[in-house]
Symmetry: C2
Subunit: 455 residues, 2 copies
C-alpha cells in the first residue's frame, strides 16, 4: 500500500461516489423500464453498477439505510439487501473502489459493528467506510424492543461514544502483533494485543476485538446529520459527509459552517470531504434535458410527494392541509426525526412563501438535481467544487441512462479539466479520498514511552 | 428452483460440509507450512476453499464463531473475519454450495439478525444457513455492556424466542407481494406485507422486515448445543446440528436421543441432519496415516491442551493440578459455559479413570479424528452413517493436504458406493439437505381462510 499520510496537503481533488439504491428512494424511479424491478434485492444489479463506477474511477459506492418501514415506504426501502452483507459481496467482485455502508448507532452493539466493518475492511483490503447515522424514524424503536425512539440529543451523545468505542476496538492489535514465526512457535506477540476496557455513559465494552487492522488502518467515517447536533458530530468524527443540500447557497453555507466547526475542534478541515447527494438529468442539449426533467416532475404523484415530505417530520400527515394554502404552521410537531432537514424545509418554505404544493414538489424528493447537457453538468459540478459548496458528489444512479451518460460524457470533461482522476493512484478508500492512515493509538503510546525512556 | 417438498421421504443421503477455520481452532494447525499464516483474515483463502468444496459437490461450508477472546485463545479465533461479511463475499464467488454462519442469540438484536441472514439468503439465491448458538464463554458479556453472562437456562429460553422472532420476520412478505406492475403503478400489494408485532418474555419486535424471501423460503437453522437445554432447543428448531461427538458410541447415543426428542415434539426426525465435526488424517496406507497422527499428537503442547480443555469450563485453570493424578474433582466449578461438553468430559474421564494428562490429550482438541487410507476413512464414514451416528460430517479443512486427499480420494469412494452425490441436483441449501421449503405463515392462513370461505 502507498503511504497516504502526506496527501491531505497535496491540493484539492474532486471526489465522486455512486449511491446504489436499486429501484430508488422516491416513488417514481422504479417506473423507468430500463431499471429491473427487483434491482434492490438483486446482488447482480449492485455488482454490475459498482463495477461500472469502478471502471469510471469513482472513489466509492455508497449504500443508504433505515431500520424501519411502513406499507407506504418508497420502493427501494421496502425490500432491499442489508448494507454490510451487500458490500461484502461487492468487495469480493471489485478491486479498487471504496465501499461505504450506512448503519445506525441507535440499535446496534458497538462490538458487533466494529467486527463487521473491520471485517469488510479486511475483505476489501482497505476499502471500507461507515456512514454513521442515529436513525430518523421513530418507528424504528419498536423493531428493537423499545416503545420510544431515543431523544435527539441522547441519540447524538450515544453516537459519539459509540464511534469512540468502535475506533478503539479497531486498534486492538498493533500492526506487527502477529509474527507468525513457525520456528519459534510464536503466532501472536501478546504485548501487542490491547483491551479497550471502555466504561462510558452509554456503553461498556472490554475488548479486545478479534481482528487486526487493514491496509488503510481503519474504515473511513462518514456522517450524514444536518441538525446542529448532527453538524457537531460530523465536525468531531467525520472524514466524509453525505449532505442533502438542495441549492448552491445552502450547500456553501453548510460547507463553511462544518469546516469552521471542525477547525474550532482542532481538526484539519481539508480532511473532511463534503459530498452532497446529486441526481444528474442529462441529455445532448440543455433544452432536451429540461424537457425530460419537467416531464419527470409532471409525472410525480402529489400524494406520494406529501408522504415523502412527511418522512422528515416522522411521517407527519400532510394530506390534512390545503395544498394551495401557505405551508402549514408546524410549531406543534416535535422534530425528533430528520431534525436538521425538517427545520431547513420550514425555514425555506417560509422565506420563499411557498404553498404546501410547491414545498412538496421542491422538498418532497429530498434531492439536488443538475439538469442539462454534459457540459452544463460539468460546469455545475465545477462551480460547486471551486465555490466551496462541495468536495465532490454522491450520484444517485437509479436511472441507468443518466448514469451511463454521466460516466461516458461528464466524467471525461471533468478529467480534461484536471478536476478528476484518470486512473486510480491508490488501492484504499483513504488513498482515493486523500486521507491519512490513522496511527494505532497503542503503537504511538509505546513509541512515546520508548522516546521518554531514551532521554 | 426445484420443488424440494418431497425430498425428505426419498431416502437417506450423506451430507458433507467444510468448516472454514483458517489457521485452526487448535494451537498447532498453523504450524503446517502449507497453510498461509494469514488464512483466517484472507478472504482469498476462504473463497479458494469454498470453491474447492463446491467442485467436490459438498453440501455446505460452515463458519464457527465466538464473540470473546483472550491472549491465549487459539490462533484462528484470535484474528479472523466475521461470519456474515465473510459468507457474503463467498456467496458472490460461488454458485451452488450452502453457506452456514454461526451467530449468538445472546448479544444481537433479532431484527438485525433477520435482516443480515435474510440478505445473505438473497445474495446467495437461497444458500444461507444460520448456526444458532448462545455463547459459551462468560467473558463475552463484558464486550456487550454486561457484568455477567446470561444464565444457561435463560440463554436457551432467549434463543428459542429469538429464533421464533427471526423466522416470523422472514415471512414479512408473501412470495407474490411485489407485482411491480408499471402500467398499474403498483409496486407492492400492501395486503401481502405483514407486521409480526411480537411481544414476548425477552423480545418485543414489531416488523415488518424490509426483505422478501429467497428461493429456499428461509435460511436453514443449524444448532450446536449439547447440554439437555441445548438438545431440547435443537429438537425444537434445528434442521441441522453440528455436534462434537468424539467416538461412535457417543455419536450414536446423541443421534438417537436428539431424533427421539424431535419426534416427541411432533417433528419428522428425518428433517434434522446430524453432522459431527471431523478431522480426517489421510495417507496412502493406514500405517502411514497412523504415523502422521501420532507425530501430530506428539507435537502437541500439554500447556496449550490444558488451556483448550479449560475452555469448556469457562477457561478454568487446569495448570494448578498434577498432570498424572486422576482427573480433578470439579464439583465446585459452575458449568455455565459449554455445559453439555463439559459434563461429558467429566463423565468420560471418570468412567475411563483418566489422568488429567490423558484427558487433556483426549478431550483438549475437541475433535473427532478418522485416521487411515482413503478406503478406511470411507469405511468409517459409512459405518457412522449406516449405524445412525451421523447423517454426514462437517470436515475441519485446516490441513490443505488432508482436504485435498479427502476430495480427490475419499469422495470418489463414497460416490462409487452411492452414498454421496456426483453432481448437485438443486441450487439451494434446502435442496442439498433434502429439506422442504417452509410455507409462509401468512400465505397459508390466507389459503385456509379462502378454503373456509369457499365451503
Amino acid at each position: 500500500m502507498s503511504d497516504t499520510s502526506e496527501i491531505g496537503a497535496a491540493g484539492r481533488q474532486l471526489h465522486l461516489g455512486a449511491i446504489l439504491e436499486g429501484v430508488g428512494a422516491d416513488h417514481s424511479s422504479w417506473l423507468d423500464p430500463e431499471l429491473p424491478g427487483n434491482a434492490s434485492i438483486d446482488i447482480g444489479w449492485y455488482i454490475d453498477n459498482a463495477r461500472l463506477a469502478e471502471a469510471a474511477k469513482f472513489d466509492l459506492v455508497f449504500v443508504v439505510d433505515s431500520p424501519y418501514i411502513t406499507p407506504d415506504t418508497a420502493p427501494h426501502f421496502l425490500n432491499r439487501l442489508e448494507p454490510l452483507t451487500l458490500l461484502s459481496a461487492v468487495a469480493a467482485t471489485t478491486s479498487r473502489i471504496g465501499l461505504v455502508g450506512t448503519l445506525t448507532t441507535s440499535y446496534w452493539e458497538p462490538y458487533n459493528v466494529a467486527r463487521q466493518f473491520g471485517s469488510l475492511d479486511q475483505i476489501s483490503r482497505g476499502r471500507a467506510g461507515w456512514n454513521v447515522v442515529t436513525t430518523g424514524l421513530e418507528g424504528a424503536a419498536r423493531n428493537y424492543g423499545r416503545e420510544e425512539h431515543f431523544d435527539h440529543k441522547v441519540r447524538y451523545a450515544r453516537a459519539r461514544e459509540f464511534v469512540d468505542v468502535v475506533q478503539g476496538l479497531w486498534d486492538s492489535y498493533e500492526d506487527d502483533a502477529f509474527p507468525r514465526d513457525r520456528q519459534a512457535g510464536l503466532f501472536l506477540d501478546k504485548r501487542k494485543q490491547h483491551r479497550l476496557d471502555h466504561k462510558g455513559e452509554h456503553f461498556a465494552v472490554a475488548g479486545p476485538l478479534a481482528l487486526s487492522r487493514s491496509q488503510q488502518g481503519q474504515p473511513v467515517i462518514f456522517q450524514a446529520g444536518d441538525s446542529s447536533e448532527g453538524r457537531n458530530l460530523g465536525a468531531a468524527i467525520a472524514e466524509g459527509t453525505f449532505t442533502s443540500a438542495q441549492d448552491f447557497e445552502t450547500g456553501h453555507a453548510y460547507y463553511v459552517d462544518l469546516k469552521a466547526r471542525a477547525t474550532a475542534l482542532g481538526r484539519n478541515p481539508d480532511l473532511i470531504k463534503i459530498l452532497p447527494g446529486l441526481v444528474p438529468i442529462i441529455a445532448d442539449t440543455d433544452e432536451e434535458a429540461q424537457v425530460i426533467a419537467q416531464a419527470a416532475q409532471g409525472a410525480l404523484d402529489i400524494d406520494k410527494l406529501l408522504v415523502q415530505l412527511g418522512r422528515a417530520f416522522n411521517y407527519h400527515d400532510f394530506s390534512q392541509y390545503d395544498l394551495d394554502a401557505p405551508f402549514p404552521n408546524l410549531s406543534g410537531v416535535t422534530l425528533n426525526s430528520y431534525k436538521g432537514h425538517a427545520e431547513s424545509i420550514i425555514r425555506r418554505a417560509q422565506e420563499n412563501r411557498l404553498t404546501l404544493r410547491e414545498a412538496a414538489y421542491r422538498f418532497g424528493q429530498w434531492r439536488l438535481d443538475f439538469v442539462g447537457s454534459p457540459e452544463t453538468i460539468a460546469n455545475e459540478i465545477e462551480r460547486w467544487f471551486t465555490g466551496r459548496a462541495a468536495d465532490g458528489f454522491l450520484l444517485r444512479v437509479t436511472r441507468p441512462r443518466d448514469f451511463a451518460l454521466f460516466r461516458e460524457r461528464v466524467v471525461p470533461i471533468l478529467q480534461a479539466r484536471g478536476l478528476f482522476r484518470t486512473d486510480y493512484a491508490y488501492d484504499t478508500l483513504r488513498g482515493h479520498l486523500g486521507l491519512p492512515v490513522p496511527k494505532n493509538r497503542y503503537a504511538s503510546r509505546e513509541r512515546e514511552a520508548q522516546a521518554i525512556a531514551a532521554e
